[in-house]
Symmetry: C2
Subunit: 148 residues, 2 copies
């Protein structure tokens, strides 16, 4: 009888493995699709912007971008006006993945929740959202007792 922590963790693990397998079919690693998704939404963003958008630290994006640049999905270019900034631009290869990867993602989503009724799915999402919020509050709260 696993408790919630174990169940959620192990579920995440297997879901993650499934997503990883799906992305690998397109030559991607898990996580890289999130970075790409941000560039599909708007090309030429900075590592910091992307990091904030996908809720990850900047070094994570930098490392990922380095690998993806080597893989020919991205190019790095410094901003003309502000030389501290680096902007990431999609290559044709990176752009070409949008359709297939988004389809793959939808397929995964659908397969995963295939065994759930509409109501079950809805309740699951709401409960997860509640837990998410609770955990976020617990994390942020104790960190800054004095607030500002």
């Amino acid at each position: 009888m696993p408790d919630f922590l174990d169940l959620h963790g192990s579920t995440n693990k297997v879901v993650r493995a499934l997503a990883e397998a799906g992305m690998r079919r397109h030559g991607l690693h898990l996580g890289q699709n999130l970075l790409l998704a941000e560039l599909w939404r708007q090309d030429g963003r900075t590592p910091g912007e992307i990091a904030a958008a996908v809720n990850v630290t900047t070094p994570t994006v930098v490392k990922m971008a380095t690998r993806m640049t080597a893989a020919g999905l991205l190019t790095r270019r410094r901003d003309e006006r502000d030389n501290r900034l680096v902007r990431l631009w999609l290559t044709d290869a990176g752009r070409a993945l949008q359709g297939p990867v988004e389809a793959e993602r939808r397929s995964l989503e659908q397969q995963l929740t295939a065994d759930l009724s509409g109501a079950e799915r809805e309740q699951l999402m709401q409960a997860l959202a509640k837990v998410h919020r609770t955990a976020t509050d617990l994390l942020g709260g104790p960190v800054e007792p004095t607030g500002h």
Copy 2:
């Protein structure tokens, strides 16, 4: 409007961070408590046994055991009868953590699900179990088309 994949992933992330913080209060990293839990249940098990029990690969356990040995929580000793085997033994420090860590874990569990009614919690667990099962089937199925 995040889909299930995003919601589950981000929930996992924040839950994980919370658990990490809780474990760090006892000088542990997340994951190490699982290894310890196996030894608390029965001391002197092998890396392979533990890996199977916590659903992780053997190298993961080996690395973790190396760090935990350096941290003074474990000792490594080769099996007398079968010299291929290595057995992990708790030190006093490792044994002493059982009470506090288990309490911390229960506390986390309770805090996380505090906003859920009993019914909600039950439904959440069942839905997660369904997804877990579905994902596991999807992972294992396509791998071995011919079965044996």
